[in-house]
Subunit: 343 residues, 2 copies
């Protein structure tokens, strides 16, 4: 390449990187030749020399054998999408690296930093990365002494309390919870908030748990919850598929939603806008989380002391639809007791 342009390697390097003090003519010439030859600088050599790869790891804590968490998948997908965009905009690319990955894969890729989704208490991967001096930003506040560089999370407790208040205001007398058996922070904080609220308002907790990674178990748990003698008149489901599962269970028991049963679930899916009836959902705003996580990480990588706080709480959004409103909203004049359509 250098020979082809009749200049030295240094000049080529400087010309392509806009670094040295070369006249524009030389710069242009080198670039033209490079273009003509289809020359691309070797990423490997550049990484070796500079110590920066432009690669960011994206790790998902796994339950079961699947490489990604099933239940959080819509969430994860949205979050990853936003993260990819944000990283790309700053010249970085994302590498998908499940936490179960054997060490050899991890050490085979030169990372500048890592995003960890929902790290567990003593996550060995995180400790290892931090020990290597790599910045690690987590989605989900770290538990225990996990030494992450920064984190972004929702205020899960406030979100749950908001939903419970919303359901109460809509007339719910006994609110049930559909939750998971896993011990991740999201599940734990949400469940604890629910139990605390129950103590506070003096209601007996009514909840069912199931392994959140198993979609079938969710349907069974939803059924179990509605089959209880102390059947709740409102239910909040912590996981994405809970909404359709609860709707199906309600139909089986002849319960009308929202007349006999108020429903809310946590989901990023748009299908709940068109269910019968449309379902109230809690959005965790994965796009904002993904973007925030990447900005924090790249700031750390590039040593930018951004004025961003290293612990960010992203507000959730409750999208209120028919399933949680005892009195359906009216836009115009509509006959009483008729669930109106989605317009």
């Amino acid at each position: 390449m250098a020979a082809a342009a009749g200049v030295s390697i240094t000049t080529v390097s400087d010309a392509l990187n806009g670094k040295g003090r070369l006249p524009d003519a030389t710069r242009r010439h080198v670039r033209e030749v490079a273009e003509r030859l289809g020359y691309r600088p070797s990423a490997a050599a550049r990484t070796l020399r500079t110590g920066k790869s432009g690669l960011i790891g994206l790790t998902v804590t796994t339950y079961g054998d699947e490489p990604f968490t099933f239940t959080e998948f819509a969430y994860f997908a949205e979050m990853a999408r936003a993260a990819t965009s944000a990283a790309l905009a700053r010249g970085y690319a994302l590498v998908i690296l499940p936490a179960t990955s054997r060490h050899d894969v991890w050490s085979n890729v030169a990372l500048d930093g890592t995003v960890v989704i929902d790290p567990s208490d003593q996550d060995p991967v995180v400790s290892e990365l931090v020990r290597q001096g790599l910045p690690v930003v987590s989605d989900g506040r770290p538990v225990g002494q996990l030494p992450v560089t920064a984190w972004v999370d929702n205020d899960h407790e406030a979100a749950v309390l908001g939903i419970l208040d919303h359901l109460s205001a809509a007339g719910a007398r006994r609110i049930g919870l559909l939750t998971g058996t896993t011990t991740d922070t999201y599940t734990r904080l949400s469940t604890e908030a629910y139990l605390r609220w129950c103590r506070h308002v003096d209601q007996d907790p009514v909840y069912e748990t199931y392994p959140a990674h198993d979609p079938c178990a969710g349907a069974v748990a939803a059924d179990r919850l509605l089959a209880r003698p102390d059947r709740p008149d409102a239910v909040y489901g912590l996981f994405d598929p809970n909404g359709t599962d609860l709707l199906a269970a309600a139909r089986r028991y002849g319960l009308r939603v929202p007349d006999d049963l108020l429903l809310v679930c946590c989901s990023e899916s748009t299908v709940y806008a068109n269910t019968e009836p449309p379902m109230t959902t809690l959005s965790l705003k994965p796009r904002r989380i993904g973007t925030a996580v990447i900005q924090l990480l790249i700031d750390a990588i590039e040593g930018i002391d951004g004025d961003r706080p290293v612990e960010q709480v992203i507000p959730t959004e409750l999208i209120v639809r028919t399933s949680s409103q005892r009195r359906p909203p009216r836009t115009t004049v509509s006959p009483p007791r008729t669930p109106n359509d989605t317009t």
Copy 2:
């Protein structure tokens, strides 16, 4: 590191890679020291030396500004998940690289090969990669002269014909199609198959198109289709959200499903098992496709002349549910002319 263990660099390399002819004692000793020091060989240097990075690019053709295709998202997510697993099992990691990505990001990462989802006709990224001598495997058969190493796809024409026949058998007299305005292969082949079938059975085509990346446009198009004077009595929707959109539109027009309107849509989502009524869906089997694509690519990277064909057609699966059966399925004694259920 070499000094710390009191041996040469070569011995360290050999010991950690299991390469040379060293006595087990030395090997063990080196590994212990490495462990104690937390030493990890530099991925960058290894890549530079060996020319292999263990990284595979994953590219999604984009419509609009979003880095991923919205409409195919459930499909993409499943496919990417399977691909990640398969790659990991063979020691590779996936790098997410949208096709709109600026050149600088592409050339900043050393790839061993690339998976391209739904490449467009003259995809410049593909040509560039191939020119660099990198293997490229596409999900979706390449159109035009696109020089991919191998490809995997469904038989979209057969799938559409199968659905049309299924709907006919269920009693449909005029079958409509909800399709996209984009020119990707999936949309084009499916639409063409529909039009050909219409000519064949002498039915006037009844279809609406919309930009598939816009979820709102889909609901509008579904409404438009059912509002037509020549309203179809059965509809196949090519994209994932079409099912719920069509159900909602049917409710607005007071059409009972499946009594007045038979519905099928192409989706990987499990929500359709619990809609009212449950919806018949076509699965493109993204898990199998993702796995197959990765196997082909890694075989090509490692120069393995696998006995796998380089052009693979993965069968689709029609999951028949209530929405496409005029007579709801009976588990016990069933009347004649009833299409049987999926069991």
